[in-house]
C-alpha cells in the first residue's frame, strides 16, 4: 500500500479522500491556493503546501506545481478527486512519468473516454446501446439536414467538447435546424475552442441513470448498481438516489452487465461511471458518457452497498485485485443525496461569503460531506457546492423522511443556500412517486411548488428581526451610559420565580 498520498483537490472531496487515507493509516498531503488556507482539507491533512493564487488556473490546475510538491513531500501516489485535473490524461501521464502512482484510470482510459465522440464509437463496438444519431461530427448544415431526416425530430445538437449545458441545442422542427446548428457550433468555439458538433435523437421523457463500475489491473470488473440523478438544475445534478425508483429489475440487470462488459472491453482500472439516458416511457437506455473518476454522488452507492469506494480506489491503484466480487455486491435499502450549494435557490447565482453558523445534521443514517464550518469564508473562485447530505433508509420513503428531517436540522446562516429548494423538491408529488425526469426542476417543480419560501411563516422572521433590532437599539442606548450588569442569571431566575408564586 502507499506510504503517503497527495490530494490534488480542495473542498469536500479532498476531505473525503483524507478520511479514507486516515482509515487506511496513510498520511496525507494537502495542496491549497492562498484563499484556501483555512479550508477544512488544509486543517485535516498531515501536511499542507500552498501552490499559488486563488484562480484555479494558477493553483489547482497547475500540474507542474502539484507534481513538484508531490516530489518534495515524498508521496508515492496522487488522488485527483473530481473536477480540476481528474480527467486530464496529460496529468495522469505526468504523474506516472514522475514515478508516482495516479489514483484513477490509466491515461489511455481517460483519453479514450474523455472525448465524447470517440467514447460513443468505442461503446458501439462494445455493443453498448447509444442514442440514434449522427455517428460523429456533422460538418455542414446540409449534412445536418440529412442526419435529421434519418434520426427524426426532436433532435439535440451538441458541441463535442461541451459540458454543463453549454453548446447544446434542442430542435423540434426542421425550420429551426439551421439557426440551432450554427449556435451550437459558435458556442463550442467560444467556450471550448472547438466547433465540432454532433446530433442525436432528443428523448422527451429522459431520466439520468448511471452505473458505478470498478475495474482492477488484473482484468476484473464489477458494477455497483445504478444511481438516478435526474433532479438537475441547469444540467447540474442536485439530488441523486440509489436505487432508481424507475428502472425495472430486468433492465437494471442488463445495464449492469452492459457496463461491466464495456469496462472490460477497454481494460478499465479504478472507479468509473457509465452515464445513460433512460427513456422512462420505453424503459430503453442509451450510453451518454463515461466519467473516468470518482463521482460527487458516490456516497449513495457506498450507503447501499456498504463498500468504501475511495479506499477501494487506493487499493486498486496499488495493484491489488478488487476486494469484492460481483456476487458480493448487494444493493440494500435506499440512499439519497442532496447537494447543498451556497447560492440563491431561485436564480442560482452563487452566494459566497462568511458562514456565520454551520450546524450540520446528524443522527441515524445521516452522513454529511463538507469542508465548511462556522466562521469559514466561502471563496468566490470555486464551486458553490459546500456540502452533501446523504441519508439512508430501509425503504425509499424512509430515506426521504430522514432527508427531510436532516434538512430541518441543518443550520446554515450568513450565506444563501438551496436548502429551501431541496425542501420543496422533497414535497413534490413527481419526486415522491418517482416519475420525475431531467426536466423536473425547470417544469414540474415550478408548477407544483412555485414558492420555495412558503414553508416557514414570514412572521417568524419578522418577529425575530424586530426583537433583535429592539435589543440592538437598547444596547446602543445602554452603551452610551456606563452600566455594570451585576445580576447573575441564577438571581434572575429566582426573582422570576418569586414573582410568579
Amino acid at each position: 500500500m502507499f506510504k503517503k498520498v497527495l490530494i490534488a483537490n480542495r473542498g469536500e472531496i479532498a476531505v473525503r479522500v483524507i478520511r479514507a487515507c486516515r482509515d487506511m493509516g496513510i498520511p496525507t498531503v494537502a495542496v491549497y491556493s492562498d484563499v484556501d488556507r483555512y479550508s477544512q482539507h488544509v486543517l485535516l491533512a498531515n501536511e499542507a503546501y500552498e501552490i499559488g493564487p486563488a484562480p484555479s488556473v494558477d493553483s489547482y490546475l497547475r500540474d507542474d506545481k502539484i507534481i513538484a510538491v508531490a516530489k518534495k513531500a515524498g508521496v508515492d501516489a496522487i488522488h485527483p478527486g473530481y473536477g480540476f485535473l481528474s480527467e486530464r490524461a496529460f496529468f495522469a501521464k505526468a504523474v506516472e512519468a514522475a514515478g508516482i502512482a495516479f489514483i484513477g484510470p490509466s491515461a489511455q482510459n481517460i483519453e479514450a473516454m474523455g472525448d465524447k465522440l470517440s467514447a460513443i464509437k468505442l461503446m458501439r463496438k462494445a455493443d453498448v446501446p447509444t442514442v440514434p444519431g449522427s455517428n460523429g461530427a456533422v460538418e455542414t448544415y446540409e449534412d445536418a439536414q440529412k442526419v435529421a431526416e434519418k434520426i427524426g425530430y426532436p433532435i439535440m445538437i451538441k458541441a463535442s467538447a461541451g459540458g454543463g449545458g453549454k453548446g447544446m441545442r434542442v430542435v423540434h422542427k426542421p425550420e429551426d435546424l439551421e439557426s440551432a446548428f450554427r449556435a451550437a457550433k459558435s458556442e463550442g468555439l467560444n467556450y471550448f475552442k472547438d466547433d465540432t458538433v454532433y446530433m442525436e435523437r432528443f428523448i422527451t421523457n429522459p431520466k439520468h441513470i448511471e452505473i458505478q463500475i470498478f475495474g482492477d489491473k488484473h482484468g476484473n470488473a464489477v458494477h455497483l448498481f445504478e444511481r438516478e440523478c435526474s433532479v438537475q438544475r441547469r444540467h447540474q445534478k442536485i439530488i441523486e438516489e440509489s436505487p432508481s425508483p424507475s428502472v425495472p429489475e430486468a433492465v437494471k440487470k442488463k445495464m449492469g452487465e452492459v457496463a461491466v462488459h464495456a469496462a472490460k472491453s477497454i481494460g478499465y482500472v479504478g472507479a468509473g461511471t457509465f452515464e445513460f439516458i433512460f427513456d422512462n416511457s420505453t424503459k430503453e437506455f442509451f450510453f451518454m458518457e463515461m466519467n473516468t473518476r470518482l463521482q460527487v454522488e458516490h456516497p449513495i452507492t457506498e450507503m447501499v452497498t456498504g463498500f468504501d469506494l475511495v479506499k477501494e480506489q487506493l487499493s486498486v491503484a496499488a495493484g491489488n485485485p478488487l476486494s469484492f466480487k460481483q456476487e458480493d455486491v448487494k444493493q440494500q435499502g435506499h440512499a439519497i443525496e442532496c447537494r447543498i450549494c451556497a447560492e440563491d435557490p431561485e436564480t442560482f447565482i452563487p452566494s459566497p461569503g462568511l458562514v456565520r453558523r454551520f450546524r450540520p445534521p446528524s443522527g441515524p443514517h445521516v452522513r454529511v460531506e463538507t469542508y465548511v464550518y462556522s466562521g469559514y469564508d466561502i471563496p468566490i473562485y470555486y464551486d458553490p457546492m459546500i456540502a452533501k447530505v446523504v441519508t439512508w433508509g430501509q425503504t425509499r420513503d424512509e430515506a426521504i423522511a430522514r432527508m427531510k428531517r436532516a434538512l430541518v436540522e441543518f443550520t446554515l446562516t450568513g450565506v444563501k443556500s438551496n436548502i429551501v429548494l431541496h425542501n420543496s423538491i422533497l414535497k413534490s408529488s413527481k419526486f415522491l412517486d418517482g416519475s420525475y425526469t431531467t426536466q423536473f426542476c425547470e417544469k414540474d417543480l415550478k408548477v407544483e411548488q412555485p414558492d420555495l419560501f412558503k414553508h416557514i411563516d414570514d412572521k417568524v422572521f419578522l418577529i425575530a428581526a424586530a426583537i433583535a433590532s429592539y435589543k440592538n437599539r437598547e444596547t446602543k442606548i445602554d452603551n452610551s451610559q456606563i452600566k455594570i450588569e451585576s445580576t447573575s442569571r441564577w438571581k434572575q431566575v429566582s426573582r422570576r420565580h418569586a414573582m410568579r408564586y
Binding site: 456565520r356 453558523r357 450546524r359 462556522s374 434538512l407 430541518v408 441543518f410 443550520t411 446554515l412 446562516t413 450568513g414 444563501k416 443556500s417 436548502i419 429551501v420 431541496h422 425542501n423 419560501f453 414553508h455 416557514i456 414570514d458 412572521k459 417568524v460 422572521f461 419578522l462 418577529i463 425575530a464 428581526a465 424586530a466 426583537i467 433583535a468 433590532s469 429592539y470 440592538n472 437599539r473 422570576r496 414573582m499
Partner: protein
C-alpha cells in the same frame, strides 16, 4: 419601540415592548386593520450556541439575524428572508426628508407615532415646497414637517396636543 419592516415588497408595522418577562409584539400587515399580538416569554427568545433559539407557538426555531441597521437577513431552518427594518431613528430621518413616510402630493402623514405641537398653516393656504407645515414631537424631539411640493391646504386633520399613530393623515392637500 416602533418599527416598520419591508418584506417581499409588503410593508409591516411592528411594535415591540418589554412587559414582565415577555416580549409584547404587535404586528400589522399593510392593508390589514388587525394587529396580531404575541406574548413571547424572554426565555423563548434566547441565545444558545451563538444562535437565537426562538420558540414560537411551540415550534422551536434556530434563528440568526444579520443586520447592518437597515438591511436585515434572517435565517432559520435552511430558509431565509431579506428584509428591511426601519427603527424610530430611521423613520424620523425619512419623515423629515420626505415630509412624512408614506406622504405624497395629496397628504402629509406621520412617519412615526408622536404628538402634534404646533400647526403653522390654515385650511386654504397655498404653501411653497419646503416650507414648514407643522411641528410634531417624536422621540422627545420637536420636528418640523415640511411641504413635499407646492401645495394648497384643503383640510387639517389634527390640532395641537393630538397624539397620532404612525401613518395617520395629518394634512390633506
Amino acid at each position: 419601540m416602533y418599527f416598520e419592516a419591508l418584506l417581499k415588497k409588503k410593508k409591516y408595522q411592528i411594535n415591540v415592548s418589554k412587559r414582565d418577562y415577555v416580549w409584547f409584539v404587535q404586528l400589522k400587515e399593510e392593508g390589514s386593520d388587525e394587529w396580531d399580538e404575541f406574548h413571547i416569554p424572554y426565555s423563548d427568545f434566547e441565545e444558545a450556541d451563538n444562535i437565537i433559539s426562538f420558540i414560537f407557538n411551540h415550534e422551536s426555531y434556530l434563528v440568526d439575524v444579520v443586520s447592518d441597521g437597515l438591511d436585515c437577513q434572517v435565517y432559520s431552518r435552511g430558509s431565509y428572508r431579506d428584509l428591511k427594518i426601519y427603527n424610530d431613528e430611521m423613520l424620523l430621518h425619512e419623515s423629515l426628508k420626505s415630509g412624512g413616510m408614506g406622504g405624497n402630493d395629496s397628504s402629509l402623514r406621520a412617519g412615526m407615532p408622536g404628538k402634534i405641537v404646533k400647526i403653522l398653516v390654515n385650511e386654504g393656504d397655498e404653501v411653497a415646497a419646503g416650507k414648514p407645515l407643522l411641528v410634531m414631537e417624536a422621540m422627545k424631539m420637536e420636528n418640523e414637517m415640511k411641504a413635499p411640493s407646492n401645495v394648497k391646504i384643503t383640510k387639517l386633520h389634527v390640532k395641537p396636543g393630538d397624539n397620532v399613530e404612525s401613518g395617520a393623515t395629518l394634512i390633506s392637500f
